[in-house]
């Protein structure tokens, strides 16, 4: 019985598929975008990270008041960064002041209290400060991603498409920028940029951060332009611009997206490092790195001033990294789904039912 069924299935389904039917079973009748989406959503860590990051962004962005020109959107948190409430010192360990009131212990009852993340030296609400810092850091991250992504794609495409002299010149430029240590040049410019604000710092870091992406895009172009469909387009009469943007670039888009997410994950760490060293964002502006640097001295006595910004840095960088990993796996056609124990078990059950 089992035998008969299997034979029937084989002839029926695989006949319909034709050549290499088994290998293509997974992608039958789907567009490229659908395949990528499906593979991405199968990557549990990446989907989890996407959910966490999205909610984190919404949480951070709505917590405080937002000013867009004359429009003011009030935040949901009771304190602002300017408020200076009285310092709390009741039930703080070892005679410290402004300890967090957040209680997650189920025995002692769950509660936020007045200052869940605690207060700083002069009594400002640390939750409000952290939210403000996280906002800046996220903004910097996205600006760096956009700037580095744009320059990297343009330079890489031109170098890879035209090759020869153009390629040689652009790649030497890349070499040059890569030999300059980012941290030092950023320190020099950051000192000046501190006065003009974090947006310029972000733009500047973006201008330094595109080199890796440009190399990658160039390599993609070099291999894709040898493909026969590019020749076919040329024979059909397509111009260079059309070949580059309609035929080659869409085929490299996967790699580009992946690389940009990884640049962004690195960007948030670079900003933190610079601010910590005092060359990035400077007071009165706030960023996560700056918060850590400002309260460095209180690490032993009041560690919460250290933990909360650190927690946000780690979660944002981790989430972006995981999303990048998920995207890379989704875009890479060589990645096949692994067989899990659950799959094997399910298969065993199936064959038992069939028998």
């Amino acid at each position: 019985m089992n035998l008969f069924k299997r034979k029937e299935k084989a002839t029926g389904e695989i006949l319909a598929g034709g050549e290499s039917a088994i290998a293509n079973k997974e992608v039958e009748g789907l567009s490229q975008g659908q395949i990528v989406r499906r593979r991405f959503f199968r990557h549990r860590a990446a989907v989890g990270a996407l959910v966490v990051l999205t909610s984190l962004i919404i949480f951070v962005m709505t917590a405080l008041e937002t000013k867009i020109g004359p429009i003011r959107i009030p935040g949901w948190w009771k304190w602002t960064t300017e408020d200076i409430p009285a310092l709390r010192f009741e039930d703080c360990p070892g005679g410290t002041t402004g300890c967090p009131t957040l209680s997650l212990n189920p025995a002692g009852g769950f509660g936020l209290g007045t200052h869940p993340f605690g207060q700083d030296d002069i009594g400002r609400d640390y939750f409000a400060l952290t939210m403000n810092g996280a906002r800046r850091s996220l903004m910097i991250m996205f600006v760096i991603g956009a700037v580095a992504g744009f320059i990297g794609v343009v330079v890489g495409s031109i170098a890879g498409f035209y090759g020869k002299m153009v390629d040689a010149v652009l790649m030497r430029l890349v070499d040059f920028i890569q030999t300059v240590p980012t941290i030092i040049i950023a320190a020099v410019i950051g000192k000046a940029a501190g006065k003009v604000g974090p947006l310029y710092l972000a733009l500047f870091l973006g201008i330094l951060g595109w080199t890796g992406l440009a190399r990658l895009v160039r390599a993609q172009f070099l291999s894709l332009r040898e493909m026969e469909f590019v020749d076919a387009a040329r024979v059909a009469g397509a111009s260079n611009i059309r070949i580059a943007f309609k035929h080659i670039l869409p085929n490299a888009v996967g790699q580009i997206i992946v690389s940009i997410t990884l640049i962004m994950a690195g960007a948030i760490l670079t900003e933190t490092a610079l601010s910590y060293l005092g060359f990035g964002v400077v007071a009165p502006d706030v960023s996560l790195g700056l918060l850590i640097s400002q309260y460095e001295s209180s690490f032993t006595t009041r560690p919460w001033l250290f933990w909360w910004p650190g927690l946000f840095i780690i979660s944002i960088a981790l989430c972006v990294n995981f999303i990048g990993d998920g995207l890379r796996d989704a875009f890479d056609p060589r990645q096949r789904r692994r067989i899990t124990k659950k799959d094997r078990l399910q298969a065993k059950l199936q064959s038992k039912v069939g028998a």
């Binding site: 084989a10 695989i14 034709g18 789907l30 067989i339």
Partner: protein, 550 residues
């Protein structure tokens, strides 16, 4: 089945786990193979022949499941311990793979790789192993064995690499040799030599060979028994004589019917009279093409003083072995490569030295079908857009008009109109090649260049493709330069044949004149090396070829 069979497969099943379901790849296979015999497994791609070969020694990916029984020299191989499997792999069962460049490690010399195999199975000192490796390399006829043993894979030619791999496979005198498409990547003359070598060694060492191939000519040349597979099922199993001369199963009959056979087509008249030739569509005069020097690599002249004319309505086959420059001629003919010397005229207009504007107006008269259906279509564009692109760029059609024309072209190549919105990866190789033709014919060209369009296709798909091409050619009456390494395919299609060797045109003429009465030695050798899918005739041909060699 007899007890002294080297390989005994019974009720062998392989399934693959894909996306939550088991898909069968090999179903209830039974096979017995005695020492000194050759059994061929034939079938088209996806029929499960390579899966069988790898499954024998549990070499499949982790998403495969096997049951049944595989016995090598009476010992069960399925679900055997890894240590048992290891002692059999290489020692009793050796593999020869299709692509020797990827099957040999590029970092080590061939001598090292043979010594490694020897020393992992026998208690042997380095010197002893080296002597034995030298013996093996001499046995497989690699020239200058003393020097060749220290060569890396990239320093050898394709045929020599395949010989090195055979030497490695034979290192431990295996009882069973599994050859998975051993000659598919090779030229016909080299293929003939490798097959001779394998036949000689089999008789000498009394090994059993399990030969996996899609080429019925190779099967006719080598096999004692044949097993025909389709979609994992063994449809027919019998001696070579039975299968070739009296096939029972309709699939086997269909498969044999689809195999192009050299010298089986009728005489074909030229579409014009020899005395009053019309103006040529493509005229190549003294063409020389050079690949410029790159770094330390010196410039390479791919084509030298090449002359060829193609007249309206005829198909000219351009044949030659790999590296002979035939693809270079094809690509230069539509201006994809710069010409170093001579002239190329398409419908009377000069291509050599034309600027991009002139070139694009000349290209409206041409179309090209590429070799590799996997890379010739943009994976990000729906095929309707790929087909319509030449029309759109030429400014001939737009919007609804363009859509209508694309549908007409799809009808022409017998693909459903709904395929317009599909992506290349959803189509089979044969369907993609049809899309390639539709795109090439979009501008109703005077000249079609087909660069090995069928080399990646199965025989039955190829047969249908060639029929379609002939139909279209009859209807639209374009001239065609058909580039191929397969003489049988060229025989079916062309009116005239041109033969290339090392960038030179060695012979050109009527199809019948070239195939039946070749003047040039190289052409003669090329034709005699093609295996014919008929065991008796092939035996006669083989003996005749070996006689001339001596």
């Amino acid at each position: 089945m007899s007890k002294d069979n080297v390989l005994e497969i019974s009720d062998f099943n392989v399934d693959f786990w894909v996306d939550g379901v088991w898909y069968p790849a090999v179903i209830d296979m039974n096979l017995g193979l005695a020492a000194g015999k050759v059994t061929a497994i034939v079938g088209e791609s996806g029929s499960g022949k390579s899966t069988t070969a790898l499954g024998l020694m549990s070499l499949l990916a982790s998403n495969a499941r096997m049951d049944g029984s595989v016995k090598v020299k009476g010992e069960e191989m399925l679900n055997a311990k890894t240590s048992v499997l290891r002692s059999f792999r290489g020692r009793e069962v050796a593999y020869i793979f299709q692509e020797p460049m990827t099957a040999l490690n590029p970092l080590y010399t061939i001598g090292f790789q043979i010594v490694e195999t020897l020393r992992s199975h026998f208690d042997m000192g380095p010197k002893e192993a080296h002597t034995r490796a030298l013996e093996l390399i001499t046995m497989v006829d690699i020239p200058n064995p003393e020097q060749s043993i220290f060569k890396y894979p990239h320093q050898l030619s394709g045929g020599q690499r395949q010989r090195a791999m055979i030497a490695q496979a034979l290192a431990c005198d295996p009882a069973l040799l599994v050859a998975d498409e051993p000659t598919t990547a090779l030229d016909v003359t080299v293929q003939a030599e490798i097959l001779d070598l394998m036949r000689g060694l089999k008789d000498k060492l009394n090994s059993a060979i399990l030969l996996i191939t899609h080429d019925m000519g190779v099967v006719a040349d080598m096999a004692d028994d044949i097993l025909v597979m389709k979609d994992g099922i063994t449809v027919e199993h019998g001696t070579a004589d039975q299968i070739f001369n009296n096939p029972k199963h309709p699939y086997t009959q269909q498969l044999l019917g689809a195999v192009p056979k050299l010298g089986s087509t009728k005489k074909r008249a030229l579409p014009y009279s020899e005395s009053a030739k019309p103006a040529p569509v493509l005229k190549l005069t003294d063409v020389t093409i050079e690949y410029p020097k790159r770094g330390r690599q010196p410039a390479f002249t791919a084509v030298k003083n090449f002359n060829l004319e193609i007249y309206p309505g005829e198909i000219v086959g351009l044949v030659g072995e790999s590296g002979s420059g035939k693809t270079t001629v094809g690509r230069a003919s539509i201006g994809l490569l710069p010409v170093k010397g001579g002239s190329i005229e398409i419908v009377g207009k000069e291509i050599a030295g034309a600027d991009s504007k002139q070139l694009s107006s000349i290209r409206r008269h041409t179309g090209i079908v590429f070799q590799d259906p996997a890379s010739s279509l943009n994976p990000r564009l729906p095929i309707g857009e790929s087909i319509g692109e030449p029309l759109y760029l030429a400014g001939l059609a737009k919007g609804a008009d363009l859509a209508r024309k694309v549908e007409e072209l799809l009808d022409q190549v017998e693909l459903p109109r709904s395929y317009r919105n599909r992506y290349p990866h959803e189509l089979s190789g044969g369907q993609r090649q049809r899309v390639g033709i539709a795109r090439a014919l979009a501008l109703t060209p005077d000249l079609l260049i087909a660069d090995e369009p069928t080399s990646a296709l199965d025989v039955s798909v190829q047969a249908r493709f060639l029929e379609l091409l002939q139909e279209l050619q009859g209807k639209l009456n374009f001239a065609c330069l058909f580039i191929s390494h397969d003489l049988a395919v060229v025989d079916i299609l062309s009116h005239r044949i041109a033969v290339m060797q090392n960038g030179l045109l060695v012979e050109e003429g009527d199809r019948d004149q070239i195939l039946k009465n070749p003047k040039n030695d190289y052409t003669k050798r090329l034709i005699s090396a093609v295996p014919v899918p008929d065991p008796k005739e092939q035996k006669i041909r083989r003996e005749a070829r070996l006689a001339t060699k001596k």
